[in-house]
Assembly symmetry: C2
Homo-oligomer: 369 residues x 2
């Protein structure tokens, strides 16, 4: 029976984590810091998070027997990726406190449902429209340039095509293979930023300062905090994130990605219902990282102080960039390697974070309003 | 065969750690940060480090079969406590690179050998003399006040007795039960400090700034960095530590504890051939902690920068102090809980570190020379 408890996971308790990549691994390490065990459930035999977990289950995400045993062995459940089957979450949630919940997951798994949700709660996004490939094969209906995206299962630019002309549309339609899609007006943004924040089981909310995010080939390359936002913009980004978390009755860490237009308008690009690559700098620049904050939130503990003591620049190590670890280890900065067995192109292998004093260059308040 | 290698442990490799307490646990967590796996070997079934290790062996430290299997499964070996049997280390060192080595361990396991070693390399200590309980039962030979200590297996004040009069001596002799001992003149010190430093396989040396250490009932309560040392004293403490590490051909992290007398003289109290409780603040105030530094040293990696970006105060949570974790989690600061199953008096259950900007109060250079 699943009695509500203010503190479902005490020290010595166990959190169950679906997914065993670097996010699951860093969640397990953060849990261990505060005396909490981890049980990692992954369908990859060589999941990096298995290396640091107290218990491991290697099984598919629809394996009812394994899921039931997993749920029986933990105090609360969470996940490191948003494409967990909704049936799986529903089943687990009947057994143990599971956060974020099925509703937050359903909304954020589907780009169209997410955009409609944001519009409903009055949060500005890019212009968008549902796109049914069966009905909408003509360029005439589309305001170009635009981006065609699959509604589900996209990440790191997978399932996204920029549409500027008829040839682009034909290519995209061929690759889309009839999947439901969404069409978004291409935004001529100045830069991208994100807010990493947590909402506790008691409704308390804590947001980290937003970093500026730089992508290359649709993969995050660099997060730099503070972003070149005015104080008012930064507060607005946090307030929008709070409104989203509240409307989803969210528990745990979430990330909201924003475009900042050349006119300084904040538009939500997407919501990630989990810890996020653009929050890795919190490991060094804050006393409570995004990973520990997520553990605290789902465990029912008080949220930690999200204040940063330093400015930070986090750079991802992607694919072959991680090969020369001897040189990387010699650099100053905090080196993180994810323990992946194989280096592959576009695979996130690790990251390095540099920090500097808050008052260097006074970026935080120095940007003109 | 044990061929010398510059990089015995690459990313994805495994370090073997003898001992599964909080030091082994934090070593395993630091190894994981840089993509290195851990195999914990402990004779305690509920060793806290088992929770975060990739592999675990629960066996006695003289179990030849288990030790051989352990050595066969790892790339390099280290330990988290200095009372590992010397035969065990000698056997493991024949199989795999084992650091710190048998010589460093032999010297630092025996208080008398350690003091003689320090005298030989010209490092100042308290006045000391070998004490044979069979021959030296008379107070007349002893300059009081003094401290009688067992030569081996003492920690946290265990096996130590202050001698001020004949009654003290009789009590101590009764408890000593004929064990070989050392007598040290009681030092009227101003405060205690320590240097945590690392020496690499290539002989490079890196020292953290010394913290001031406060003990209560012989257990470390608090480490605060910077210590109220002049710059010259701080440099001297690091130089003495470098001399010790060099003379021991040391590889890994070591801690040297000092008394600072009322006249400002530095006297070495003892050497710990391992990561040390008075270095836990490096987790938050430096980009490379003492734990990662030890992993880097034994793995043959470049040592990290020991510079601290912040001042820090680390306070231990001892025994029942860890009971009220809900209040502790609400405090600012970095909370560490070690995942120990049982709270016992005088048991180290966790610690909390606060940090502050380097230039607050300008303590670092502000102390009069």
């Amino acid at each position: 029976m699943n009695l509500p408890s203010r503190f479902p996971v005490p020290p010595g308790g166990t959190i169950g984590i679906l997914g065993g990549g670097q996010l699951g691994r860093m969640l397990a390490l953060a849990a261990a810091k505060v005396g909490v065990k981890s049980h990692i459930y992954s369908n990859a035999a060589d999941a990096p998070a298995f290396d640091v977990a107290t218990k491991c289950t290697f099984a598919e995400f629809d394996d009812q027997t394994s899921l039931a045993a997993f749920a029986g062995s933990v105090n609360a459940i969470t996940f490191e990726f948003e494409n967990v089957p909704s049936d799986t979450i529903a089943m687990l949630a009947r057994a143990k406190p599971t956060h974020p919940g099925a509703h937050a997951l359903a909304v954020t798994q589907d780009r169209l449902a997410e955009k409609k949700f944001l519009s409903r709660i009055g949060v500005a996004t890019t212009e968008y429209a549902a796109f049914n490939p069966e009905e909408s094969g003509e360029l005439g209906q589309i305001v170009v340039p635009a981006v065609l995206k699959t509604r589900r299962f996209g990440y790191d630019g997978k399932g996204q095509w920029t549409i500027r002309n008829r040839a682009d549309l034909e290519t995209a339609l061929a690759r889309l293979k009839g999947a439901p899609a969404i069409l978004e007006r291409l935004v001529d943004f100045s830069f991208e930023c994100s807010v990493i924040a947590a909402r506790g089981r008691d409704g308390t909310f804590a947001a980290y300062d937003p970093p500026e995010n730089t992508h290359g080939e649709h993969i995050l390359r660099r997060s730099s905090v503070p972003a070149p936002l005015t104080r008012a913009q930064s507060e607005e980004a946090k307030a929008v994130t709070a409104r989203i978390a509240e409307a989803l009755a969210y528990v745990g860490v979430l990330a909201v990605e924003f475009f900042v237009t050349r006119e300084g308008v904040l538009l939500v690009n997407e919501i990630a219902p989990r810890v996020h690559n653009s929050g890795h700098w919190t490991l060094e620049a804050c006393l409570v990282s995004q990973f520990e904050q997520h553990v605290r939130a789902i465990a029912g503990w008080p949220l930690g102080d999200p204040a940063r003591h330093s400015n930070a620049v986090m750079e991802n190590l992607i694919g072959a960039e991680a090969e020369d670890w001897q040189t990387l280890a010699r650099k100053s900065g905090a080196l993180h390697l994810y323990g992946k067995n194989e280096i592959r192109a576009a695979r996130k292998m690790g990251h390095i974070t540099q920090i500097s004093p808050l008052n260097d260059g006074n970026q935080r308040d120095g940007h003109p309003d």
